[in-house]
Amino acid sequence: MEVLIDKSKKIDVLLIAEGTYPYIRGGVSTWIHELVTGIEEINFGVVFLGSRREDYTEIKYKFPENLVYLLVTYLFDETEKPKPEEIEGDRKVFEYIEQLHKWFKSEEMPELPNELKKLDFYTDFVKYSDFLYSKRAWDFITNMYVKYALDVSFIDYFWTIRNIHAPIWVISNVAKRVKEFDIVHSPSTGYAGFLASLLKNHHNKPFILTEHGIYTKERKIDIINADWLKDKRLIFQREAGEIDHIRNIWIRFFFSIGKFIYNSADRIISLFNDAKEVQIAYGADPSKCIVIPNGVDIDGLLPLVEKRPDPYPKVVGLLGRVVPIKDIKTFIKAMRITVDKVPEAQGWIIGPTDEDPEYYEECRNLVEALELQDKVLFLGFQNIKEILPKISLLTLTSISEGMPLVVLEGFAAGLPCVTTDVGSCRQLIYGGLNEEDIKIGKAGEVVPIANPQKLAESYIKLLTDENLWKEYQKNGLERVKRFYTKKMFLDNYRLIYKEARDGRNII
């Protein structure tokens, strides 16, 4: 744990970044950077929770003036561990933990008991070295193993238990030592949300949670697919679809801290309506939940509408990295069908191709096999302001998205959008924020995932029916101007912070 920046100014809002800002570029990091840069009058502090020191290189962002504090720590780093020493461990402590565990196991999806919500529990009652090195901890782990996981590889079990629990103490240590602040704001649940919850409970300060994805759900998918958690049982030893014990431990763990975080948060913010519904299904109190969508800087994009030639070019643009999650192959197949009907149509794939070279190769082979060499082009990374006027239709074929800013940017640049039905796409394209939003009307089409036929139908419709295209363009422009500007996004958070500080509801 080290403090990299401390300008000795009061921290108004403390942001907790788990594996994102300022070391890794990406959606959440950009979001944090825009928030901090945008709300100049507020002083921000950032706590970065990384996995291991060697997983990160240099700081990727230029810090604004109002970022007054930066603390970084690594959850799985050896240097955060106390020196190994032989210790007995307190009998009473472990008897108590056993009680907790029994109760924890008996619940279907348990909620964290009150003792565990307090910081002192981790810093004074059960110390990190007790957990790591005491004989009682060892006895405890082996007893649990014998009771619940007898057929699992022991070393995997042992390290799962360690790796799940270890960050808790690293986090408690941060919670003890972090500088004073007014509001804590976490852009995810998980470990970051856990730290925010401990801080809230310990200092009795407001806690705001913004979820970009649904952490608990994403972790569940990660864990089920994780290669390193090898199920060493033979195939006939497990039932079809059964999740083994170790994966179950992880899932239950994230579920119960997720619930704890929802309960601790004073505000639970999601980016779009569907996400809010999922949060409520996962145990969030509906009265705390609100939606604050991301916004885009429309001033720079609006002039692009005029730059587009008339009649509009028959070009469908897919903005995104060439990786499997974006399902580029479905786009290529849809283009084959489109070109059959609209021979002059083209499909441009705009985005870096170097992230997954193997997948890129497969995509190019598919283009060749479908004889689309002069119809589907890989353009690599492009300046958005130059490329958007050259296309007339924006598309996303992803199998998973949160709230894709590119759709909003497309709207602002006068592009109707055709996307798969993932994340907030339906809300963005059909309108779903409120009654007013729905009234504006459609700004494109939403189709099922992995369905080239349906995609192509929408492309053809929009490439051939200019009136419809113009209507969608108009709707998109109106929607982004009314609900999704960067100014609105920032003002919403200004309000949220004010509300939190004054201790009353404004929204």
Binding site: P84, E85, K135, F154
Partner: protein
């Protein structure tokens, strides 16, 4: 490299008495060979040159000189032995092979350089006026060479190059015996030179073999002094361990009533103590062979199997099972060593007068020899226990035990010297006995919690 265990297991697989004897003989040669060769060569050269020199004092001067050189060079290299072995082992584990040779040269330079100057200074101050400058030069050169030999020897032993070591000792001491026969007419200087010649050959044979085994682009490096790669406790364990082994002898050498000066007032020997104890050391070689055999042929494979089970992710029940079997193998190794040496000691006691006659040793030493026999017997057990502690990388216990052994040995030896001749030897026995008891308790405690240590504290 790990071929020895494999060879021994192969021999033992035949399950006949002759196979067991073969394996035992092989173990004997590999474990105690160099040591037995050294002592036997000194005895042989004693008888060969006695006819030529016919001066008992010169021969005693020579033998005592060699004893001093061996004792002090062992203690001197004690600082480096364990920690550098560990350094080499770690580089092997990391597959960072190119680091080994230059750092090896580094530690040789670091040891042999000061060794030469310190021993020369010592010689010039305390010895040269009694025996002349040539003797002093041979004295410090031999000391320097011995320092080098111990370091290569322990590394090559660690690499399990037992056969080559044995071969080198054989050649070197053969050269020494032949040279001493021809040079004995030059008196003490002739003998010293022959010994120096033999040791130089030994040093070169071992060094060239080590260079042949390793490769590096660099000549010399001092990476082993890197703060992150050094295990400080091993430096002191090595030192105290070697010091403890000689403490009782020092007490007897430097006490007026139990010793006689040989060269000046500083180089002395103890007529009452030295002969019985060196015979008693010779007597434990069968036990050492037995332990070596058990350790290499049996324990090592159970040890590997246990840690493999841990690493490869077996279920806990199997880990416990293999752990128990490994502990059983450790216990068997110690107990069998005790049994075999016990039987051998009984045989020796039955034939003690006969043995003394062969070596022309006065029977007056017999009672002390019996006590010493018990002492070295216990020391054999202690050595075996230490070997297990090192195997399990129990650095803390090793350090505590080596310091305990040294302190007890010093204390009780001084006490016995004060109490008088009837008590000679009992101090040594008692100190080892207590250290053995403590070691066993510590080993038991550790093995009882071995899984906890393996998982929680590594």
């Amino acid at each position: 490299m790990a071929g020895i265990s494999f060879e021994l297991r192969k021999v033992l697989r035949e399950k006949t008495i002759s196979a067991i004897f073969k394996a035992f003989g092989y173990s004997f040669a590999l474990s105690s060979g160099p040591y037995v060769i050294t002592i036997l060569s000194l005895i042989i050269s004693y008888f060969l040159s006695y006819d030529i020199i016919k001066q008992k004092l010169v021969l005693t001067q020579f033998q005592v000189s060699i004893t001093y050189l061996v004792a002090f060079s062992l203690i001197y290299t004690g600082f480096s032995q364990l920690f550098f072995t560990r350094y080499v082992a770690d580089r092997f584990f990391e597959k960072d092979y190119f680091k080994i040779l230059p750092n090896f040269i580094g530690i040789l330079v670091l040891n042999m350089g000061p060794a030469f100057f310190v021993s020369l200074l010592f010689g010039l101050i305390f010895i040269s006026k009694y025996t002349g400058i040539l003797y002093t030069l041979f004295f410090s050169l031999t000391f320097t060479i011995l320092v080098g030999i111990w370091i290569i020897n322990i590394i090559l032993t660690g690499l399990k190059s037992y056969k080559y070591i044995l071969f080198s000792f054989f050649i070197a001491y053969l050269i020494f015996i032949v040279a001493s026969y021809f040079l004995a007419s030059f008196g003490l200087n002739g003998l010293m030179f022959s010994f120096f010649l033999g040791q130089s050959v030994l040093f070169l044979l071992l060094l060239l073999y080590f260079i042949y085994l390793n490769y590096s682009e660099k000549i010399v490096e001092f990476d082993f002094l890197n703060r992150n790669r050094i295990f400080v406790s091993l430096i002191f364990t090595g030192f105290f361990y070697n010091l403890a082994l000689w403490t009782d002898k020092f007490v007897f050498w430097f006490n007026e009533s139990t010793s006689t000066p040989v060269i000046g007032p500083i180089i002395r020997y103890s007529i009452v103590y030295d002969i019985p104890i060196f015979l008693a050391y010779l007597a434990i070689s069968p036990g050492m062979a037995a332990f070596f055999l058990k350790l290499e042929a049996e324990f090592a494979s159970y040890y590997e199997r246990y840690y493999d089970a841990v690493r490869k992710g077996l279920i806990l029940q199997k880990i416990y099972e293999y752990g128990d079997e490994m502990i059983e193998a450790a216990r068997a190794a110690i107990l069998d060593t005790i049994r075999i040496q016990g039987i051998f000691n009984i045989v020796i006691i039955i034939f003690d007068k006969f043995i003394f006659d062969i070596f022309k040793i006065p029977l007056i030493y017999l009672p002390l020899f019996h006590i010493m026999l018990l002492g070295t017997y216990l020391q054999l057990i202690l050595l075996s226990l230490f070997a297990l502690f090192f195997y399990f990388d129990r650095r803390k216990e090793s350090l505590i035990l080596s310091i305990t052994f040294f302190s007890l040995n010093l204390f009780f030896s001084v006490v016995t010297v004060i109490l008088g001749p009837y008590f000679y030897g009992y101090g040594f026995v008692l100190s080892i006995f207590l250290t053995v008891i403590i070691s066993i308790l510590m080993l038991r405690r550790f093995l009882y919690e071995i899984h906890y240590h393996t998982f929680m504290l590594r």
